[in-house]
């Protein structure tokens, strides 16, 4: 469950400067955004370049806190004054597939995928089983010992998805997961994300691939210059 009400967020605020970028302008990335997605819902996040899609996903991934408005993720209200430990625990329940994958370059694919479980201090035997299963699911069993740099773009994308979902998070966010991929690969990845949502996670996928959206019909959130122009939330 995700719920935003009148959320406004601009870059360049002191709390954000170091982490996201060193921008000194105060461009408003999101203004008065209000919507909600039920548990298990799947949403496309659409809009032209610079509309604020990545900004919204970062906010939902708690890489920043909203400057005004209310944000609720998986039953937790996120706002100024929320404890850092609470945010960290919440982040463990929000899987994020970054546009640039953000795999650890020095770790093998299986170690990368195992990270969320190891942060939870799961038993190593269980970790090995889970990693093997999830790598089989994304079709990377053979490449488990490879380093990220030794993988193709599509393979890295699938590794990133595997890492985002291995701890069975309640929310999965994906920022243009099909950007540089050919059509069959794109369909495969979106198919996986749909599967994750049918397993109960709330999934939001940002893209400007219209063909893909047409092939996988689902409600869409449309952003334009930081404002939500269309919300098909009432659809199933």
């Amino acid at each position: 469950m995700i719920r935003l009400s009148n959320v406004t967020w601009r870059y360049g605020s002191p709390t954000r400067r170091a982490a996201v970028g060193r921008g000194t302008d105060t461009a408003t990335a999101l203004s008065n955004v209000t919507f909600s997605v039920p548990q298990g819902g799947f949403r496309w996040l659409l809009g032209p370049s610079g509309a604020g899609k990545s900004s919204l996903l970062r906010l939902l991934h708690l890489e920043a806190l909203p400057q005004s408005g209310e944000l609720e993720i998986l039953g937790t209200h996120v706002g100024v004054g929320v404890k850092r430990a609470t945010l960290a625990r919440l982040r463990q329940r929000v899987g994020m597939v970054h546009q640039d994958f953000r795999l650890m370059p020095t770790l093998s694919i299986s170690d990368n995928v195992a990270l969320p479980l190891r942060l939870e201090r799961r038993d190593e035997a269980a970790v090995a089983d889970e990693v093997a299963a999830i790598l089989r699911w994304v079709g990377l069993s053979e490449r488990s010992d490879a380093l990220p740099a030794e993988l193709s773009g599509g393979e890295q994308q699938r590794a990133a998805i595997a890492r985002a979902v291995i701890a069975r998070p309640g929310v999965v966010l994906a920022d243009e997961p099909t950007n540089a991929l050919e059509e069959s690969q794109s369909s495969r990845i979106v198919g996986m994300l749909r599967e994750v949502s049918t397993l109960g996670a709330t999934v939001i996928v940002a893209t400007h691939n219209d063909a893909l959206v047409r092939r996988f019909p689902a409600p869409a959130l449309r952003l334009e210059r930081g404002r939500l122009t269309s919300d098909e939330s009432n659809a199933p």
Partner: protein
């Protein structure tokens, strides 16, 4: 084991992120400094406590030309070797007025007081008798030839002492809190003008002051070394954080709590600091052992005797004392030195914890 190994596979790769070798070298240098300073402080404290305990009630009397008859107060003795320093210690040329008063002020031992010094005695035995008669003294002991030899051996060699015209040296242990009465001093001056009375009390106070100042300096120096060490460790941690910025951001995004990243850094830094601290402390041992060995011949047993030098308490005597005391205090010294590596590790751990946690504040 596999769990520990697994936990390390989190992409931080700290073994390559921190400037290991320079951190180790810097911590080792700091620990070496701290060890040497601490050893000096232990020496200073030992000196001061020893003085406070033992030397407070000790007075030494030097009698020039000890074998002259006690009554000899002619011009000849005025030019004797003790004359130049006599005034310094308040022993002026004979003052018969005090001597005359003496019996009246000696309630217990008065019968034997000044009268003990009969004309046929030598100056040294006469003074011994006067001192023994005083109610303020507990023990009066005239050093014999071999004791003087041993005292002077470090400076004069094995055979030299007996060849010189040496003054008699009388050690006087006063009763607790007592001082030599003016009457006794006057008597001594009368019997043997030019006698030198060393009241260690003044020296003790001065030495205690010096020791206290040295201790304060040492404490300050150790604090400073610790602070500089913490600053060095902080800089090294910063370098490590900078080198692993992206990995840390990824872990943070995956839900790692601050404590996880902080303890990963802290453990690594503490380990390096412990190793550096051990290296530094070990490096301090050879010079310390060398000094101890240099001092060993000077620290031979026997009573500590002060004030036998012509100019009072000399540097060389201080070394003797230090050596003797050092010989007695290895446990304290070794305990303290043993603490240094762990102190370094603790400083490393706490510094890294603080640095990482502050650094992580940039991420919400």
């Amino acid at each position: 084991m596999s769990e520990a190994k697994g936990r390390r596979r989190d992409g931080l790769a700290l073994s390559r992120a921190l400037p290991d070798r320079s951190l180790l070298a810097m911590v080792a240098a700091m620990s070496l400094l701290a060890s040497l300073t601490y050893a000096g402080a232990v020496g200073a404290r030992a000196v001061s406590s020893r003085w406070a305990a033992g030397a407070a009630n000790l007075v030494t009397v030097q009698v020039p030309d000890p074998e002259k008859p006690a009554t000899d107060t002619t011009a000849g003795s005025a030019t004797s070797m003790g004359e130049a320093t006599a005034h310094k210690d308040g022993v002026s040329d004979a003052s018969s007025a005090h001597a005359a008063q003496l019996p009246a002020s000696q309630p217990e031992k008065q019968s034997g007081s000044i009268n003990a010094a009969t004309p046929d005695m030598t100056r040294a035995t006469a003074i011994e008798a006067v001192l023994q008669a005083s109610p303020d003294t507990q023990l009066v002991h005239r050093l014999n030839a071999s004791e003087i030899d041993r005292l002077l051996a470090p400076w004069l060699g094995a055979a030299g002492a007996s060849a010189l015209p040496l003054p008699a040296v009388i050690e006087v242990h006063l009763s607790r809190g007592a001082t030599l009465s003016p009457n006794v001093i006057a008597s001594i001056a009368k019997i043997a003008p030019g006698s030198l009375i060393e009241r260690n009390d003044e020296w003790r106070v001065r030495l205690l002051d010096i020791a206290r100042s040295l201790l304060a300096c040492a404490a300050l120096a150790i604090l400073l070394v610790g602070a500089i060490g913490a600053a060095v460790i902080a800089m090294a941690t910063r370098l490590g954080l900078g080198a692993r910025r992206e990995s840390i951001e990824i872990l943070h995004g995956l839900g790692a709590v601050d404590g996880y990243v902080a303890s990963r850094f802290a453990r690594r830094v503490a380990g390096l600091s412990l190793a550096g601290g051990m290296a530094g402390t070990l490096l301090a041992l050879p010079p310390l052992a060398g000094i101890a060995r240099l001092m060993a011949p000077l620290s031979g047993g026997g009573a500590l005797t002060f004030g036998t030098g012509e100019t009072g308490f000399s540097m060389a005597e201080m070394v003797t004392v230090l050596a003797t005391l050092w010989g007695e205090t290895p446990p304290a010294l070794l305990w303290g030195l043993g603490v240094v590596p762990f102190a370094a590790a603790f400083i490393g751990w706490i510094t890294a914890q603080v640095m990482v946690r502050v650094w992580l504040r940039r991420l919400p």
